[in-house]
Amino acid sequence: MPKDSGIGASTKRVEDQRFLTGKGRYTSDINLVNQTHAVFLRSDVAHGRIKSIDTTAAAAMPGVLAIFTGEDFAEVGGNPAGWAITSRDGEPMKEPKRPVLAHGKVRHVGDAYAAVIAETVEQACDAADAIVAEIEELPAVVDMSAALAGGPFVHDEIETNQCFDWGWIEDNRAATDAAIKNAPHVTTLELINNRLVPNAIETRASTADYDPGTGEYTLYTTSQNPHLTRLLISAFVMGIAENKLRVVSPDVGGGFGSKIYHYGEEALVLAASKKLCRPVKWTATRSESFLTDAHGRDHVTKIELACEKDGTFIAFRTDTMANVGAYLSNFSTATPTFLHGTLMAGNYTVPHVYVNVKTVFTNTAPVDAYRGAGRPEATFSLERVIDKCAHELGLDAMEMRRKNFIKPEQFPYVSAAGLEYDTGNYDALVDKLNELADFKGFEARRRLSEADGKLRGLGINTYIEACGLAPSNLTGVLGSRVGYYDAATVRVNATGNLSVMVGAQSTGQGHETAFAQVVSEMLGIDQSSIDIVHGDTAKIPFGMGSYGSRSIAVCGPAVVRATEKIINKATKIAAHMLETAEADIEFKDGQFSVAGTDKSVSFGEVAFKAYVPQNYPVEDLEPGLEETAFYDPGNFTYPAGAYACEVEVDPETGKVTVENFTAVDDFGNVVNPMIVTGQVHGGIGQGIGQALLENCSYDDNGQLLSASYMDYAMPRASDLPFYTVDHSCNTPCTHNPLGVKGCGEAGAIGSPPTIVNAVINALHSAGHTHVTHIDMPVSPARVWAAINAQ
């Protein structure tokens, strides 16, 4: 019988009531009294020297209040990268300043070099049009190979365009090279992980409000991570005292990584608000989102798989070029390294792994973590080369994977890429997939497709990922400049209801429902009496936000720990009320009882006593019932999965249609199955988008060719099928108190190789065995060209 509340129940989401009635409160819905509006001027060349910016005419136009250029921020700090990476030769990474507004040079199309503040958006736009900037266009570099070969320099002081040349694990390098040299079989595959635009449907927006009376700033902004934004602005960019800056993220309309980071627009509106002593609001247009949100992926990779003739893996060796764009975004150095290289052993007992990543500056928008962040890139490389290898050796692709799986009895298992996986059962996932995806019936379905003139392909894939970004001890060793824990405060109010303040920030994952389920289960309190408070640094403890599937995996345990402290203290109060020893108190279903008697007090009575402490042992027990916990886990968590899909390829046009899609994931314990399944659906949708449709395309001059929904193929309802999603093969995580692993990125990690493997399989079924790979997006043009390339 399914539960209807608490952990494991598919509780309906409480936030839906406001979202469905138009009462959501997103950043741009907030309007402050006396508010002004900011509009940015953005470079229309990819690389240029700013010779002059004439604002005279614009400044005199109706409604114009202020104009800012890079000169105004020349003395403030830059927005830093969050992780310092060291090259193989011991050199620190090259870290150019990322200014609030471009100063001296512009370095990508969309790079902001001025901003106008006016009474209305329209007036600001009109004035922006009247600013005359003389920007001398310089040769741009877009291609990573050209950049490394000594193309134009994105930053004058970095005469290699290389941020770092990183090896993982450097001590494995020689052994991996030798193993590949001596292996009976080596499969080599060169592939591209296509650049994507995150495209949260809510664009970024920021409103700043400076209070000259107190010297305090409030910044309303679309953030996955309000405390980090405050920290970066305070410690690095603006120097505003941290206790004078409040960052508020109200409802956030999707993030997918792009709203983790601090952006220059946030600093600009803060500075403008102080100058004008009025609120300043900016809302990005969709075009600005395409040009300036941190993009995702963008790797060019060569991967080699060495194995025995029977398919036993010996080594993986990867050489990747990773584009960081023109500036280092906050996670840009962590994504291609520690979120990518460390996963390069996959689910396998391969003895040797070596990864080299060269990270490159180009005249393109900054690239950073996008849903999955490094793990999709790792999984795509691994699972594509394994399929190619199986084909070369004439082996069954799934059986080859099974042969090399880490087996359940081998956990905890330290992979050749240096991570310690705690639990998993990859064979069980594949068994379940076999059943749900009906592999046995595939040949019959293929014949039906063929009768219809279509080629049907079956694609499979397994994955493992490391998520729940933490722990600080490990991330610190790897170069992180911040800690990775999370925090929660549980406040029991005098009347017995609860406010739970969490460091995690929802961008649509249903935190107000799922966190309340955890507390409800632990306290035996009805969920409707529990409010989740998030998204406001003035209200919440210092948490590290939501990304890397860390909400329930890192903040969830913080909630558990704080609630445990509540129970401990409430037990002491109950013991006092019941005039018995603390050890005799039992707590169950919201009641504190004296063991073996019928004496009890309710949770609500204890809460009231805590706040009305008359006849109270204040010498031994503090009044009040509020507790905070910071939780820093011992390890990442390791979700895993096995995916399958069938596609139909029209050989006449090259069009690929996804006929069905099955995902079997191991997320450990699941708090709300409905929400978790929805997260997988969304991830698969984005993964299929990457595989078949989406591509962020620059021309050789650095002009963004896909800068709107007219040009960037977003998946629509008719592009996607229903998905079969299962999470019945869970192996609980062993190192957090909830046993959870994290589910937000799984679909985006597991689906791209599944789709591409299916397309290659379909082409092989018609004898097009010369096609061993097609780069994403696997568009009709590319498929048609591949078929007809012989």
Binding site: L20, T21, G22, Y26, N31, T203, G253, A717, S718, V725
Partner: protein, 160 residues
């Protein structure tokens, strides 16, 4: 210029520039922020409202063009007692939304579909939603919600 219209049954009026879009009039002048803006090119559908009973992307018409019109927005969709209507309730029951930003447009689009097609097929629903982009749900539960709102059995469409 001065314009007047009926929004969710209430007579409203305002002073707008010729270039003011209907969505900006709703959001900025009437402070009805339930209708969202997701793009510049009338592709995403987050701003879908009904004008004289027809689905319209309110970023694609001028406020002045809606002078005298009957406009319906997400704020006017709930039942009179404030409870969710059948379509809204189906979206909640079947988890047809995550971040909620595209949701008003999805609900308005679904409302028009079901007005003209009481029992749409899955293919018809997917086709009808071609003007509305969702980045969170992979559309699975949106399509399922609309099927359920039309009274069709959705028990065979993947479990939650």
């Amino acid at each position: 210029m001065k314009i007047s219209m009926t929004v969710n049954g209430e007579a409203v009026s305002g002073e707008v520039e010729g270039r003011t879009l209907l969505v900006d009039f709703l959001r900025n002048d009437l402070k009805m922020t339930g209708t969202h803006i997701g793009c510049d090119t009338s592709q995403c559908g987050a701003c879908t409202v009904h004008v004289n009973g027809m689905s319209v992307k309110s970023c694609s018409i001028l406020a002045a063009e809606a002078d005298g019109a009957y406009v319906a927005t997400i704020e006017g969709q709930a039942n009179e007692d404030g409870s969710l209507n059948v379509i809204q309730q189906a979206f909640q029951d079947h988890h047809g939304l995550q971040c909620g930003f595209c949701t008003p447009g999805m609900v308005m689009a679904a409302t028009e579909l079901l007005k003209h097609n009481k029992k749409p097929t899955v293919a018809e629903i997917r086709h009808h939603l071609d003007g509305n982009i969702c980045r969170c749900t992979g559309y699975h539960n949106i399509v399922k919600s609309i099927m359920a709102a039309s009274g069709q059995d959705v028990s065979s469409i993947a479990a939650e």
